[in-house]
Structure formats: C-alpha cells, structure tokens
Symmetry: none
Subunit: 262 residues, 2 copies
DNA sequence: CTGAATCATGCACAATCATGCACAAACGCG
DNA sequence: CGCGTTTGTGCATGATTGTGCATGATTCAG
C-alpha cells in the first residue's frame, strides 16, 4: 500500500511519520522500525525530535498527533474508525497511476484520500474542503476544489453551481458517499441536494466505486443516487453476506472485501 | 533507466537533478554520484548551489524539493500565534452584521475567521478550504467556497476559474493576505497567481482591509496587489512606527492597532 | 509484585558533510 | 601562439550527524 522505502533519508522518514500520524491518528515505534527497516532506537530518536518540536505527542509504544486529543474508545467504536481505515485502504488499491478521481465528502472518503499513495500523479477533484485540506499537506497530487455553497451537515459544496462545475470535469473513477445500498434499487442518500451532486459525479466519471460499511445494506434513504448497473466497484467489509456478495457480482459489480486486519 | 551521460556538463547535471526532484520527490547524493559517474563532492556542490538558489532543500543524504519543507498547514499555524490572534480580533471588529466577506487564505486570515462573532448573519466567501472547514463547525454563517485548482503553498484555490468565480461575487469587505506593504507602492505578493486572485477579490469588494504583522513593512515582493488608495482599512501591530501610521492616515486609510494584551 | 516491553542515555562506529588545496581543462586576451 | 584567469574536479582533512548496541531505568499488564 503506502510507500515504505527501504532507504529513506532521515528527513523523509520524519515526514512520513507525520503523514501517518495525521492520517492514521497514531504511529507505533516497532511498526515504523520494521517499515523503514531501521532500528527502533532511530525511530525513537525521530519521535523524540518531532515531539520536541511540538509536532507530535510521545506516548509509550509510539506517538500521537498533537492538538486532536484522543477520542474516547467508546466514541471511536461508534464512529467505526478502524473499519473505515480498512475500507479506505482497500478502496485506494483500485486507483491507478495518473488517474483523475472525483471524491465526495464524508468520513470514509476522507480516509480514502488519506490512504491514497504518493507519487502516483493523481488528480483529485473534490467538493469537500476537508479532503482538499488533507491532500494539500502531501506531495504529488493535483487538487481541484469544486466551488459552491457549503452544506455544513455534508461538509461539502452543494447546489447548482457545484453541479455545473462537476459536469465540466471528466474523471476516471469516482467515490460517491452512500447512505444506503440495495441489491435491486441501488444507492440512496438522505439528502436531495447531495444526491443531485452525487449523480453528477457519477455521470462525469468513467467508473464508479461505492464504499460501504455493512450497516448500509438494509438501510433506507429517500433520494436515489444510482442504479446497480451504474456501479462498477463495491468495497465492503469482510463480513457481508456471501449471497449478497455473489448477487452483486452476478450484476457485474466487482466486489472487494476489506482486510480483516491491517 | 533515464539518460545519465557520463560526461554531462555541470549545468545539464543540475537540470537533471531538478527534474528528478520534481518527478521523484527526492534525490540521494550517493545515487546521483553513481548515475553521473562523478564524485559525491561534485554532487554535493551541485546540491549546495541549487539550495542556495532556493531550488531545493538540502538534507542529510541528499535533497528534497522546495515547498516540502513547509510544515502541514495544521502545524504551521502555530507560528506567531499570539500576534495573529490580536490582529485577528481587531480585524473582526470591523465587520458589521449581515455583511458578505471575501476572505483570502493564510494563517492570519484563518485567525480572522475564527475571531468572527456568531449570530451576525455573515456570508463568508473564501478560496481557502481551511477557512471553509473552520467556519463549518460554527452556527450562523453562510459559506461559499470558491472553486479551482489548489495551490498547495498558498493553501487556496488559484487560477483562471477561481478568478472568474470571484468576479461573480459582490462583497462588502475583503481581507486579502499581503506579503509586503509599502507606503508609496501599496501591497505586494511573492506569487503572481495569488496576486491575481487578490486583485480580483479587491475589485469584487466594496471595502478592503489589509492585516499585516510588523515585519511586512520592510519586506519586498515581486507582484503588485493594490495601491494604497485601494485600501480602506489597515490593521497592524501596536508597535508600528508612528510616522508610518500617520502617513497612511494622511492617505485616507483608517489604521487600527491591535491591542497589546488580550 | 513480577516479568516483559519500552525507554533514555552513553558510547563507538559509520556515513555524510564543509573546507582547503592541488591539478587540469577551458577560456580570454594580448 | 603564450600566459594568466576562471571553472570544474577529485582528494585529504577534520567536523558533524546518524546509527546500532549495551546498560540501567521506567512503564505497563496481569
């Protein structure tokens, strides 16, 4: 998945550590040592130095980002953080070098943006300031922000202006967020304006990938986004029903299951 | 892989180094030495020279592209916090209920956005995802995000599309960021594209407020943003020269000094 | 309380670096 | 052509920086 150069310059290493901190919310010294093929001592030195500069917080076993205090575990579970990271990393593996991606707002999509590898010459088009913000800190991305009125609930631009701008773009792959998915009727959203934007995204993209947590199957929402035959890829958790899996495959949707562990 | 003629001229070599920097995101001194069949000393000399010209950043073991040295925006904001907070709160006091504000990117402007009072029915138009993001968490703001290509250094959208969208807006007050300010020539920016955007902002606004730290007064920058008579308000620190203060006032610029303490 | 994991510290060694110097090729100019 | 100058290069030197290991100290889980 992400770059783990066997011979990284010290500076690069620290940069990558910071990146992982902000994208994954934590780093483990032992993992970093293996990843960089270097002794834990050097990793610890890096972490100590970053902490001294106020760029991370040192904790037993690794480090945490500064500022955002750790969420209570109960809240973390409710937000399904781990699950989304797993889905995101699987979703990111669909992306090929040089592609243009259209990325919707949402916490899962933010995670996908974080999971995108550097140095793949990707062009990212997004309606979410959050995603633009995250990718800004990294190299090798061309970022296009779609303008328009901000919908605070969605955390993204919406409305006619936004839809118009999206239609002026041509992307290879898009990741529209979904509130509900159904084998027969397709993908749904709770908000009519957002649904409008998502439909525009799909129409502007060569392929469409839908990333869903298991609770989205069976959920209901009022506004239609896409039919099943408009979906090319479905990324789901490893525990989805085998019959559902097969049924989507039968409708020529490529189904990918997130890894159990990471 | 790529062309690595054993008898490259120094200038050719440096050009190739820059090319690799931008395409690969880094160069390693030892690798370059082998590639060019030349001693590491010469490579180091090249890197030192390029770094002196500001075209790359020298690190232990090699070099990295410029721009990468800047900390993630989330962390950069930590610099000069107190000063900027004081300036920001003074700047925010210029705002009247119901107004439409055009806010540029930059850490000072982010602070201004934070300092804006709730419940004043403000409409905020911005090119900075960061600012959109911050205001999203708060009540009582209508937010308009200006779309376009993202300039990572600036942390904002830039380019023709962005300028076009700005010109479709009419604001009461704008806060363009400034890199340098001079009594005779006005306000300047280091980047030509950003300067273009800022000019558009000013032209789309009834009034213009420039917020500057004291170090901006002696500074120099290449691209003109505005003449002094285009500026309506100047917010500066309390320690600026009294003659400068008076001189701006004489040119009918309202000068506001940030409070010493808060 | 105990054992295992993690940590800071000091130290030795290796890699990388800046600097000065000598030499060679290219260059300008009489 | 001849000769001083400039420029680029490699090498030697000593300084700086990064790294791994050993040693105790500290922290954590059970």
């Amino acid at each position: 998945m992400s770059a783990a150069p066997s011979d990284a310059l010290p500076e690069e290493r620290q940069r990558e550590i910071l990146r992982r901190l902000s994208s994954q919310g934590r780093v483990v010294a032992a993992e970093l040592a293996i990843n960089f093929a270097i002794s834990e001592d050097s990793i610890r030195r890096d972490l100590r130095e970053l902490a001294a500069r106020g760029l991370c917080r040192r904790v037993y076993g690794g480090a945490l980002p500064v500022g955002q205090e750790q969420l209570p575990v109960s809240l973390r579970r409710a937000l399904q953080v781990e699950t989304k990271l797993r889905l995101a990393s699987k979703a990111a593996s669909l992306v090929r070098s040089g592609q243009t991606l259209l990325i919707d707002a949402g916490s899962t999509n933010s995670a996908i943006a974080d999971a995108l590898p550097d140095r793949m010459n990707l062009t990212i088009v997004t309606t979410a300031p959050d995603i633009a913000q995250r990718l800004m800190d990294r190299q090798g991305f061309e970022i296009l922000m779609i303008g328009g009125r901000i919908d605070k609930r969605a955390g993204a631009t919406v409305g006619a202006q936004t839809a118009l701008e999206i239609r002026r773009v041509r992307a290879d792959l898009c990741f529209p967020g979904a509130c509900a998915i159904d084998l027969d009727t397709g993908v749904w959203d709770v908000d009519s304006e957002e649904a409008l934007i998502k439909r525009a995204m799909i129409e502007s993209s060569g392929e469409t990938a839908v990333v869903v947590t298991t609770d989205k199957f069976g959920a209901i929402a009022a506004h239609h986004i896409a039919t099943v035959d408009q979906i090319d890829h479905l990324i789901a958790e490893h525990d989805i029903d085998a019959t559902i899996h097969a049924a989507f495959e039968a409708k020529s949707v490529s189904v990918y299951l997130a890894d159990k562990d990471r």
